[in-house]
């Protein structure tokens, strides 16, 4: 019974009651309006889920993989320092209202951290979370998940998708929600919730809404043969023209990307030297020092760094992890101060090749 996908329909009121119920046992981290934007925040009194949000600045995956965390603590002993494991706080959390681009983005990030070599900290943090997805009907100007294949409704994409990455999936049917559960945890989350089984009309409404959402996309990425297209064009002039002419090396693109995993390690030394903490902080391939070694820097130019970002997401990633590193959320181009757009770069390269 528990592994099956099951669906039911809940009214807006029943859904609100359900969230209140969840908050008794979990910290519910959900999209809430914060000024002009929407961010994932723990729901508290007076904060309401922003059901119609388009995209958050910081992706859902980065709620789990935070900008800074302590990995190891060195405690002073008579002989020197003893390394101690830092086990992240155990806390039951629900990441709520996550759009399909971010559901897939989280799974993509986890191909790095939970792959062949596991990152113990991430694994431990991830174990705190259950995820409630929300099919997306609010398509933004920079959104192109439909052409990548990760959205706007949650499904299977490049070897990943339900039942992974999402325990409960909601679809707003207008005045009521279709509630689908995946696996044991999904069923458990819905325990004690009043809801009725979906009618064929409800299922039909979901399909209709998915089709309508797909019609609203204004942006696309042509993924045909994309990894090898880029590999054939590592010397294309756009890397220089766009990289040197427009990129500011601000690292915004990588800070807002749901799949970017790169980090740096710092050590925080207490003034009395009794404790030294080894912490990790997000790092960026767009930072000038990222690929620096003694005696040289393998990516000293913005041209090389921009090429690394775009080719990693759209080409190398497929070889490394079997999927794209881009889920089509559009954040990198939204937050680029000079509007550098990896889909436009890919399109430019394709157009040039087709002209030849």
């Amino acid at each position: 019974m528990t592994d099956q996908v099951s669906a039911r329909v809940a009214s807006v009121e029943q859904t609100a009651e359900w969230i209140e119920l969840l908050r008794r046992d979990y910290e519910v981290v959900a999209p809430v309006k914060t000024g002009k934007t929407t961010s994932f925040r723990p729901l508290a009194e007076g904060l309401e889920v922003d059901w119609d949000y388009t995209i958050t600045t910081i992706p859902a995956s980065k709620t789990i993989y935070s900008p800074q965390e302590t990995l190891v603590r060195f405690a002073r002993t008579e002989e020197g320092y003893r390394a101690e494991e830092v086990v992240p706080e155990k806390r039951k959390r629900i990441l709520f209202g996550v759009h399909p681009c971010d559901l897939h983005g989280t799974l993509v990030l986890e191909r790095t951290f939970l792959g062949e070599m596991k990152d113990a900290n991430y694994a431990s943090l991830r174990a705190n979370y259950l995820i409630v997805g929300l099919n997306c009907q609010s398509i933004g100007e920079k959104c192109f998940c439909a052409s990548v294949g990760t959205g706007p409704f949650y499904g299977y994409w490049m070897g990943q998708g339900p039942p992974q990455g999402c325990d409960v999936l909601l679809t707003d049917l207008g005045g009521r929600f279709l509630v689908e559960t995946f696996g044991v945890n999904g069923v458990r989350l819905l325990a004690g919730v009043e809801a009725s089984p979906p009618t064929p009309d409800d299922i039909g409404e979901k399909l209709k809404r998915e089709a309508a959402a797909k019609e609203r996309f204004r942006k696309s990425l042509d993924t045909r043969d994309l990894p090898s297209l880029l590999r054939r064009n590592l010397n294309h002039p756009t890397w220089r023209i766009t990289g040197e002419g427009r990129c500011l090396s601000c690292t915004n693109c990588t800070m807002v990307c749901p799949t970017c995993f790169c980090y740096d390690i710092w050590e925080r030394v207490g003034l009395d030297l009794s404790v030294i903490e080894r912490i990790r902080v997000w790092d960026s391939c767009q930072d000038e020092r990222f690929a620096e070694v003694h005696g040289g820097n393998f990516r000293s130019t913005r041209e090389a760094r921009l090429r690394q970002f775009v080719c990693h997401k759209l080409s190398y990633w497929v070889e490394q992890f079997g999927c794209y590193g881009c889920v089509g959320c559009g954040r990198c181009m939204t937050w680029c101060p000079t509007g550098i757009d990896l889909a436009e770069i890919a399109a430019e390269i394709r157009a040039d090749e087709e002209r030849k």
Binding site: Y81, F113, E267, V293, Q308
Partner: protein, 275 residues
């Protein structure tokens, strides 16, 4: 298992390699554990407060479980390590990465080309070959350094040369005042004319500055050495050793786990490398 949690390693001996390099013999503090290392792999070696960096092993696996790192002072951590003495503790994580292809090159003639501290990762390979000398063909080592004084492990050269069918050719870029040198001067590829090794049954192993490996690999390709039997060991910035921190990426490769030892042909066509 937490791959970020280092193990304590006690320094049981050190040896200075002037002017700026020092070897550390280490063993894990916990007697019940040992590092299952292979020549060519590396450890992340750290000193709390000074950080952590990748260093290859400079000795092959030892029966007693000890291991060696030979480190040149170039950065904040490595400069501080020069002051570490026997009895002190370092924190290590590893071993990580790929190893020299000791099995795959059995029966072949071996051309080993080292530049400067590039000899450090190649030394354990050579010592393992010497332990089973009859399993390999001719061994030719070409070793170049900036100055005679930087020809690291020169105290071992006589022993190496006494191995059967083994030849060592040296070159230096420059002879500073006060040092004497009656050998070859110039870049290491200048020794190709005297290497006396045919490409047909040869394998090449090289480590040194990337620009040196470029000229070594390309020079040997022109001499008909096959690209799938040229092995290079690369250096990149690394923070984790586990393919997570992203710094070491070269095209689709993570140098920390897909390397540091690569077949030259694996790396063809990638940007951001001098190869």
């Amino acid at each position: 298992m937490n791959l970020q949690l280092p193990k304590e390693a006690v320094v049981i001996g050190t040896k200075a390699h002037p002017p700026d390099t020092k070897a550390f013999k280490l063993r894990l503090r916990n007697d019940n554990e040992r590092l299952e290392l292979r020549s060519g792999q590396f450890n992340m070696v750290g000193l709390p407060g000074f950080g952590e960096a990748p260093f290859t092993f400079s000795s092959p696996p030892q029966a007693d479980g000890s291991f060696e790192h030979t480190i040149r002072a170039v950065g904040r951590l490595s400069k501080r390590l020069m002051r570490v003495e026997a009895g002190e503790t370092l924190h290590v994580r590893g071993p990580f990465g790929t190893a020299w292809p000791l099995e795959q090159v059995k029966g072949r003639d071996l051309l080993v080309v080292a530049g400067g501290v590039g000899m450090i990762p190649l030394r354990p390979f050579l010592l393992e070959v010497f332990q089973k000398r009859e399993e390999y063909g001719k061994v030719v080592v070409l070793f170049g350094a900036r100055t005679p004084g930087e020809l690291i492990y020169r105290e071992e050269f006589d022993t190496w040369r006494r191995q059967p069918n083994t030849f060592l050719h040296l070159t230096v870029d420059d002879v500073p005042p006060g040092e004497t040198w009656d050998g070859h001067t110039g870049v290491v590829t200048g020794l190709f004319s005297q290497m006396g090794i045919e490409p047909d049954n040869a394998a090449v192993l090289t480590c040194g500055p990337e620009i040196m490996m470029r000229f070594v690999a390309r020079g040997l390709l022109l001499r008909r050495f096959p690209a799938n039997r040229i092995y290079v060991s690369l250096e990149r910035r690394m923070k984790c050793g586990t393919g997570h921190c992203g710094h070491c990426q070269l095209g689709p490769k993570f140098v920390c786990k897909d390397g540091p030892v690569f077949r030259y042909e694996e790396l063809a066509g990638f940007p951001d490398t001098l190869l």
